[in-house]
Symmetry: C2
């Protein structure tokens, strides 16, 4: 929670610079070797957890704002964020309104606004990504999806909706570039899908379906070493991968 | 274009009742027997075409606002609208701003606001749906997708994005309930997909894939009459259909 002085300064700056009634929240999922995490920030003096979020400048494009907010709150740059849903239940920002309402007159108080928030999500390799908290936050960290702290406002709903969207996306768009090494085995790719879906998949069906999407190239050389039969190595066919990102899989209609 | 008096009244009411900076636009696709159309409105005195849209009351949930706006502008009720994207390029509402800027001082003028618009889409049987224009509109009509009038603002982009979303949706969610008769043949269902995708599909692949989704029941009795071999009749398995709407197809992961 902000002090009265901090709140007053924050609200003055916010009213001058930001578009009222609209915020952005980012759900950044991190994958590495069979683990799925999400990036959370903890706000100064509150000790409570939020998705990294913020406000849009009055003349700023939404996508630019999402990138900037994520960078400011977490230090992360060049993350491919995708818009997935707007959350706008009238009571969703009442918690902040109640927290600050006695500290400033309503007209000066940024938090008396009703806020709709635009949700963005991304999936990155958390091993390569070291988040850094900004001045407002005391912590910014990767949390396990099955051991989450309680989230403030409607951020648990936003997180769940992002996860549902990511899971649905596996059915019509490719995933995995930037998460897998340049060459990988089919079981390694299957592990990514199993981790996101939180369930086991049939090995043969997975291979048949994945090859049907036409986004993989098989290497001439199987992986060397190991006692068992050497597994085939695959890499993404970037041209087909990118086409499928915008048009859906070829195996589609 | 509104007269100065109309504009003044409209702006006063808008500032009192609506959330600034946010609008809603609806893309309602209509299908019937191999034809795909979209619902457009023409605003009084402008003779130019828009998607049906409007503003949100200060304490109104977004979904309620979308339903209400569609009903007010077109008379249509109980249409299942799905949110699909927010459009927020800073220059997207400049056209309205320019049109009205000399008629009222900026502080009173609702159209000096930057507006983000939340896009909703739906697919209905246009044969059963008779749109009616509201007081602001002179016309409200079904237009062929391949013979559209020029659309104002960024509404052509909103329409294209909705169509892309609908086409992508065919890969992971069922479609067709409320569009098909209670019982239908596989070629009739294929026609729906071909019309939305604007391309021919292979008959056998279509049947195999569609049956694999597990959302169809086959009737015991083929259709009677006709010179050729009577085709099988299908109906939607509503339980599986609804499950697939929220979770994606079973044929998925």
């Amino acid at each position: 929670m902000l002090t009265k002085k901090e709140l007053k300064e924050y609200c003055k700056e916010a009213r001058e610079n930001y578009l009222p009634h609209i915020s952005i929240d980012c759900v950044v999922f991190g994958f590495h070797e069979g683990q799925l995490k999400v990036l959370l920030v903890s706000v100064k003096n509150e000790g409570e957890w939020y998705l990294p979020g913020g406000f849009m400048f009055k003349e700023e494009p939404i996508e630019t704002a999402a990138d900037r907010i994520l960078k400011e709150r977490t230090g992360l740059d060049e993350i491919f964020l995708q818009q997935f849903h707007v959350f706008g239940a009238p009571e969703r920002s009442k918690e902040h309104f109640e927290m600050y309402k006695d500290m400033l007159p309503a007209k000066e108080n940024w938090f008396t606004n009703r806020f709709l928030t635009i949700g963005y999500y991304a999936l990155v390799d958390f091993f390569n990504v070291n988040p850094m908290p900004d001045a407002l936050a005391t912590a910014c960290t990767w949390c396990d999806l099955d051991d989450l702290p309680e989230l403030k406002l409607d951020h648990a709903l936003i997180l769940k909706t992002a996860l549902d969207t990511l899971r649905l996306q596996l059915n019509y768009q490719p995933i995995g570039y930037n998460l897998m090494p340049k060459e990988f085995t089919m079981p390694e790719l299957q592990k990514l899908y199993e981790t996101i879906l939180d369930k086991k998949l049939d090995r043969r069906n997975f291979q048949r379906r994945m090859l049907g999407f036409g986004i993989l190239n098989r290497s001439e050389q199987p992986r060397k070493g190991g006692a068992h039969k050497a597994p085939y190595l695959y890499s993404f066919d970037l041209q087909n991968y990118k086409a499928a990102l915008t048009e859906g899989f070829k195996g589609g209609w």
